[in-house]
């Protein structure tokens, strides 16, 4: 069973604040993803990575940076948080990039920007 953990589970910050969301997977998966989930929009891909040091841009990357420091760890950075970034953030991982590859999701981080 793939294990993806996220921290913190909840975070409140103010406009202009600096936030880092952490994700770790312990199943030696090559691919990791950051999504945001908003009511009425489903999940939207922010950034993804296929290995340490690699970063790819997703569909909604504006205002976000990401860094993959190791195969296990993928971070999402909001350097000047805005209220529009209030959302539920999910990290996911997959073994490979094949279209049939199942993505395993973490429990999510709820971020509120005041």
């Amino acid at each position: 069973e793939a294990a993806v953990t996220q921290s913190p589970r909840n975070k409140v910050t103010v406009t202009g604040g600096n936030v880092t969301l952490s994700c770790r997977q312990t199943n030696s998966h090559n691919y990791m993803y950051w999504y945001r989930q908003d009511t009425g929009h489903g999940l939207r891909l922010i950034h993804y990575s296929y290995g340490a040091g690699n970063l790819q841009i997703g569909d909604v990357p504006d205002g976000y940076k990401a860094t993959r420091t190791t195969q296990e760890d993928f971070f999402l950075l909001l350097e000047l948080a805005s209220p529009s970034q209030t959302s539920l953030y999910f990290c996911a991982s997959s073994r490979d990039w094949g279209d049939y590859a199942e993505q395993f999701f973490g429990p999510g981080t709820r971020l509120t920007v005041l």
């Binding site: 691919y31 999940l43 891909l45 996911a92």
Partner: protein, 113 residues
């Protein structure tokens, strides 16, 4: 670009009733199709997936889905729902490019006793 439409934001059914959650996709090629479920305060979990072969695919917990190419649909079904099936269900499509898993907006299922 691909897209997914789940026309029903909420579905309410009684326990023991049958269920169909609708999903329509838009993609010009052969899609990879998925159904995920999200239980309260949890991440998404894969229910089933389809690419080729028998258009009716079986998933976990008695769920199945049928791929109908002529209708661009991939509806999720269950013969008899249980209260524990209450969750949000997402249909998703992959178009063959890494990272491009496109989700629908989700359908919230409420099962009442």
């Amino acid at each position: 670009a691909q897209s997914v439409t789940q026309p029903d934001a909420r579905v309410t059914v009684s326990e023991g009733a049958s269920l169909q959650l609708r999903c329509k996709y838009s993609y010009s090629g052969t899609p990879y199709l998925f159904w995920y479920v999200q239980y309260p305060r949890q991440g998404l979990q894969l229910l089933l997936k389809y690419y080729s072969g028998d258009p009716v695919v079986q998933g976990v917990n008695g769920f199945e889905a049928e791929f109908i190419k002529s209708n661009s649909s991939f509806h999720l079904r269950k013969a008899s729902v249980h209260w524990s099936d209450s969750a949000v269900y997402f249909c998703a499509v992959s178009a063959g490019v890494v990272g491009q898993l496109t989700f629908g907006r989700g359908t919230r299922l409420q099962v009442y006793a």
